[in-house]
């Protein structure tokens, strides 16, 4: 019973979050200058043509009417049609989502594969050559902008040695360089956290106790300390992943990839209200749902949480 109550409470919070976010985005994009009818009509359309476009888009109606209509459509999970391309917003988003998702997964995977072994090695062999290597890598990884790395990778591996395509993601090969450019930045952040977290764990009392018990050092490090050290890393990796799901705009731009980032960027440039709203609500929904599921799992694993 307790669980159902807890789940219901969390779910209401999710609905409230989505409601607040949709309201904010609805008004923000209408307050800033810009009119989709002018974007469609361009500089040569006559005022009467612009008025006809506004009437068709429905932007000539009072804001309150538009807002109620928008809330009603969100309730039905109907994101409407793009004002600029006249295509359903949801299909535009779903066309791009697989690519963005794949890119985010690959970027994170590369990040983890680099960061965790190097971070652990750095922590275990503090102030050794490995540690300095790790520190230099993370410093560079954070300092180098991903678009610059992307262009360098293209120049080297698509132009000088044409191993990978210069643009597009028609073949899986097209994703290698963008994922690498994304992954290096993630790796740099994760490496720092892994190192710090591992050092902290290794200095804890249970490690001393384990050593006193005579457990082999490898068991202490990799079975006990690493397991605990990874917990905060998973949280950070999750946040990074969520961030990448919103689209890695710069990487998509450099590698000419049709991902969510570019879709939303141009939607903002063109004041495509339904697409901006749909995009924001879609991402907020995914974020909230993932959080909701995580909360539920936590509460099953640790029933104490429900009471707090």
């Amino acid at each position: 019973m307790n669980f159902i109550k807890y789940a219901a409470k969390r779910f209401l919070r999710l609905i409230l979050t989505i409601f607040i976010i949709s309201t904010i985005i609805f008004f923000v994009i209408r307050v800033i200058p810009g009119d989709p009818a002018l974007v469609i009509g361009g500089v040569d359309a006559s005022p009467s043509d612009i008025q006809a476009i506004r009437a068709k888009l429905g932007t000539d109606r009072p804001l309150s009417v538009q807002y109620v209509e928008f809330l009603w459509s969100i309730l039905r999970l109907d994101f409407g049609r793009s004002m600029i391309s006249d295509e359903p917003v949801i299909s535009l988003i779903l066309q791009r989502f697989p690519l963005t998702f794949t890119l985010a997964v690959l970027g994170l995977l590369i990040g983890i594969l680099i960061a965790i072994p190097l971070g652990v090695l750095s922590a275990v062999k503090r102030w050794s050559g490995w540690d300095y290597l790790g520190l230099v890598f993370s410093q560079l990884g954070m300092a180098i902008p991903s678009f610059w790395l992307g262009i360098l990778l293209l120049l080297l591996l698509a132009i000088k040695f044409p191993i990978f395509p210069l643009f597009g993601a028609d073949s899986p090969a097209g994703l290698v360089l963008p994922a690498l450019s994304l992954g290096v930045g993630r790796a740099a952040i994760l490496l720092r956290h892994t190192r710090a977290s591992m050092i902290e764990e290794l200095s804890k009392e249970y490690v001393v106790a384990a050593r006193a018990k005579g457990l082999p050092e490898s068991v202490i490090r990799y079975k006990h300390a690493l397991k605990n050290a990874l917990l905060p890393i998973i949280t950070i990796a999750g946040i990074e992943f969520g961030y990448m799901l919103g689209g890695a705009i710069i990487i998509e731009q450099v590698f000419s990839l049709p991902g969510l980032g570019r879709l939303f960027l141009y939607a903002i440039y063109q004041r495509d209200f339904p697409l901006i709203q749909g995009g924001v609500v879609f991402i907020a929904l995914i974020f909230s749902l993932v959080n909701f599921v995580a909360d539920m799992l936590y509460s099953i694993v640790n029933p104490k949480i429900r009471l707090e």
């Binding site: 002018l38 009509g41 791009r96 210069l166 899986p172 097209g174």
Partner: protein, 498 residues
């Protein structure tokens, strides 16, 4: 396990990667680098240049401009206009079929024009067709347009991208032309992956026999300039419509790349808000004109061009040169500013940040104006803000922009003198521009336009920077890629890859 990895999986993976790279494009395919994704492929629901550049290959118009800009027959093999200018009769070709197999007849012309003027379509070009009172189709290959008043610019509208003829049966069934264009054009639509590429294949039943020559054209959407240039350099891209002047040295040194320089039909201007003090004072506008070295702006920001002196592209048949009026003369500018009592007043040049060339031009002009003692700052805004705040809202001092050329001068001039975004009012100019739409005789029209353009040249609501060059880059094995004059659309009909 290690063996399996070494002998099967790894070689397999590399083979896949190489195959992907090598066979991405088939033979006879031209890959064209496009800098952005068109908003829609429906020619009647947008004003976006990218859309018209792409859909030019899917559709035909009743008439079209030839390479000299003269309007010649296309889907209509001939046309005539009654002496009073109120009845236009078009005789249609009989050998044209749409991509869906439907025969092209007068029914399609009527359905298309009805679609444009229908308020529900909300076409941004609807006003251009509003003179049409009635469309009659006496037989399958004749269309008669009755106008409510003589309107000479109609022919240019019919020849422009938005005059594209759509099949009547698909219009009736509510076909989604935005996503799946069907026309009579030289290429058939194949696939559009948004923000990635648009593919099209040859229309074997095209009405000009022997054309098009290419089997396939693929528009590859590459937003990053550096990638476009590198792509053309290594051959991943066969043609680029616009090469930034800064990238010319890299490409010109590549023997496998050909750069063609041609005069555009753009009218580059710095517009002045004539309703604002002190820009409502003619002396101040004259001072600004004297202060700007137009040739330097053209050369440094736009990669060269021909300086302008009035509000029309310098290559236009209706253009008259008035460049003796305001030659570069900073001393005279200082004097005029002093006379007008401008002092240390602050001005702003508002520029759309998505046009780096205009931003560069604005920076140059800011420096030139500072030299004559004007206090000018720069403000960058995004395109939507520019449209609503500057162009439509009139909330600016100066702005730098390029007006695209039009097939008919009315497309450029309509509304000036009556307060378009420069907020400059002149009843004589307004009347002459309006009168010119009712006459079809070239000499008589030119006389009216010259009178109007002379007043605009004298009263300078703009700094007429001029018309810039365009650098089209192609691989050296690409021949006869054409751009339609004034409309700047891509014409692949004659293009060949040898």
């Amino acid at each position: 396990m290690r063996r399996v990895l070494k002998h099967c999986i790894l070689p397999g993976l590399f083979a896949c990667i190489f195959a992907g790279v090598l066979f991405a494009q088939g033979p006879g395919t031209l890959v064209f680098g496009l800098s952005g994704n068109p908003d829609t492929l429906d020619p009647q629901k947008t004003a976006g240049t990218l859309t018209f550049q792409v859909v030019k290959s899917f559709y035909d118009t009743l008439v079209e401009p030839d390479q000299s800009g003269k309007i010649v027959p296309a889907l209509a093999e001939s046309w005539s206009v009654s002496p009073d200018g109120l009845t236009w009769t078009f005789r249609l070709r009989r050998d044209v079929v749409f991509h869906n197999g439907q025969q092209f007849t007068s029914k399609d012309v009527k359905a298309t024009l009805d679609r444009i003027v229908d308020e529900k379509t909300a076409s941004p070009k609807r006003s251009e067709f509003s003179a049409i009172k009635e469309i009659r189709t006496p037989d399958a290959y004749t269309v008669v347009l009755s106008l409510s008043q003589p309107y000479a610019p109609l022919l240019a509208s019919l020849a422009s991208g938005w005059g594209a003829i759509l099949p009547s049966d698909l219009i009736a069934s509510g076909h989604n032309f935005a996503a799946e264009p069907v026309g009579t054009g030289p290429f058939k639509f194949e696939k559009w992956i948004r923000d990635s590429r648009i593919s099209m294949t040859r229309n074997d039943k095209y009405w000009i026999k022997g054309l098009p020559k290419l089997a396939k054209v693929e528009f590859q959407i590459v937003p990053e300039r550096a990638v476009q240039v590198q792509g053309l350099g290594v051959g991943s891209i066969d043609a680029l419509e616009f090469v930034d002047p800064d990238d010319l040295p890299i490409l010109q040194s590549n023997p496998k790349v050909t750069i063609k320089k041609e005069l555009t039909s753009l009218i580059m201007v710095m517009a002045m808000n004539c309703s604002r003090e002190p820009l409502n004072d003619l002396r101040v506008r004259q001072a600004v004109n004297y202060a700007i070295d137009k040739q330097v702006v053209l050369d440094v920001a736009y990669g060269g061009g021909k300086i302008g002196s009035t509000f029309l592209d310098t290559g236009n048949a209706y253009y008259t040169d008035f460049s003796n009026l305001y030659p570069y003369n900073p001393e005279k500018a200082k004097q005029l500013l002093k006379d007008a009592g401008v002092g240390n007043r602050e001005f702003t040049i508002t520029v759309p940040q998505n046009y780096p060339l205009h931003v560069k031009a604005a920076e140059l002009m800011q420096q030139m104006l500072a030299k004559v003692g004007m206090n000018v700052k720069l403000q960058l805004v995004d395109w939507s803000t520019w449209l609503s705040s500057v162009y439509s809202g009139g909330n600016y001092d100066f702005t730098v922009i390029g007006h695209t050329g039009k097939l008919d001068p009315d497309g450029t001039l309509a509304g000036y003198g009556a307060g378009r975004y420069v907020k400059w009012y002149n009843a004589t100019v307004d009347a002459k521009i309006k009168e010119a739409t009712t006459i079809s005789d070239f000499a008589a029209r030119k006389k009216l336009y010259t009178d109007a353009l002379e007043i605009m040249a004298n009263e300078v609501p703009f700094v007429y920077i001029g018309t810039s060059y365009r650098y089209v880059g192609t691989r050296s094995n690409v021949f006869d890629f054409r751009m339609t004059p004034n409309l700047d659309t891509f014409d692949f009909r004659w293009t060949e890859m040898r």
